[in-house]
Amino acid sequence: MKLEINGLSIETPANTTVSQLLSIQKVKMPDMVSVEINESILDRKTFGTTILKEGDKVEFLYFMGGGK
């Protein structure tokens, strides 16, 4: 199925979960990512159980702690 991740279109197997997507996308530290699906922030406790649907717009939002 087709998903949009951080603005780019990608193809994944059907029934991919958010956890699987993070690993497919080679996100090394999922702890450092908040996931937004179709403009709503996903509870990180449900990454493993949330199944993505065709056309979902997914954003990986990274913790960024710097400033000085």
Partner: protein, 274 residues
């Protein structure tokens, strides 16, 4: 308040803008903005807000100017090495514009002092460099009902969002709680392109000025993500989160806490695969 001849000349490029005018300039002169952290983000904010004639600018920072700061913290100069950052940046602001009343806090923002300090200001700029402070600012601004600009930078990327507590998406709506200690890289360990702080810091200053003037659309409910290498600005719509631990329907954060400071693991490389 009536503008003096000198002020009319100094601020003429503002006053000529129909959206600002003499009235708007008077609002800026009556405005009170707190900058937390006189570093990479705080420096450009401080200089531009002073130049803009924001009447009261608070600057809070407990650190001293270090040689490795000068690559990006443009409010400080060689002559300031070893000096308090709060004092050094206050002197830089005062040198630009004597209209500005600078209030200096040579200390860290803590759970104890945060509400007292923040309460004296209209708008808060988060220019800090660690998650503990960023979450503290988000929570304190929520409890004090003060609008703030959040920002973070790392390597070649930065992001920022403006929050009107209780009305718009907040920092915790997006990130919930600080990442586990050891997961988060800091600028000193991961590096940061100096000018990136200028790009993001000046956006924060722009938001503060718009807020004081009450003009335009604030960067609310949208996270701006800037990538300097790609030279891309992405504006991500982010809705308020009903499960937000701070502003959600059943909040778990009900008082100020000083979170654990996330400590970087030198080998972490969490954003490399972006």
């Amino acid at each position: 308040m009536n503008l003096s001849e000198k002020q009319i000349e100094r601020y003429s490029r503002h006053i000529i803008l129909p959206e600002v005018g003499g009235k708007g300039q008077e609002k800026l002169l009556a405005g009170r903005i707190l900058i937390v952290g006189a570093g990479g983000l705080g420096s450009p904010s401080a200089l531009y807000l002073a130049a803009a004639g924001v009447g009261t600018i608070g600057i809070i920072d407990g650190d001293l100017v270090d040689l490795s700061n000068l690559q990006r913290q443009i409010a400080h100069s060689n002559a300031d090495l070893g000096k308090s950052k709060a004092i050094s940046s206050a002197e830089a602001m005062q040198a630009i514009n004597e209209d500005v009343n600078v209030r200096i806090y040579q200390e860290r923002l803590t759970a104890e002092n945060a509400l007292t300090v923040i309460n004296d200001y209209d708008f808060i700029i988060d220019g800090t460099d660690n998650f503990s402070s960023k979450f503290l600012i988000s929570d304190a601004c929520h409890f004090a009902g003060k609008a703030y600009s959040h920002a973070g930078i790392l390597r070649f990327e930065g992001q920022t969002i403006t929050v009107k507590p209780g009305e718009t998406t907040c920092y915790r709506c997006i990130f919930g709680a600080p990442p586990p200690a050891g997961a988060a890289p800091s600028c000193s360990q991961a590096g940061v392109l100096g000018v990136l702080a200028g790009v993001i810091g000046t956006i924060q200053a722009t938001e503060a000025i718009k807020y004081i003037l009450g003009i335009g659309d604030l960067l609310t409910n949208r996270l701006l993500v800037y990538n300097a290498l790609k030279m891309s600005f992405r504006l991500l719509e982010v809705r308020r989160n009903a499960n937000c631990p701070l502003c959600g329907t059943n909040p778990s954060v009900t008082e100020l806490i000083e979170g654990e400071q996330a400590v970087c693991d030198l080998n972490c490389d969490c954003t490399k695969t972006r």
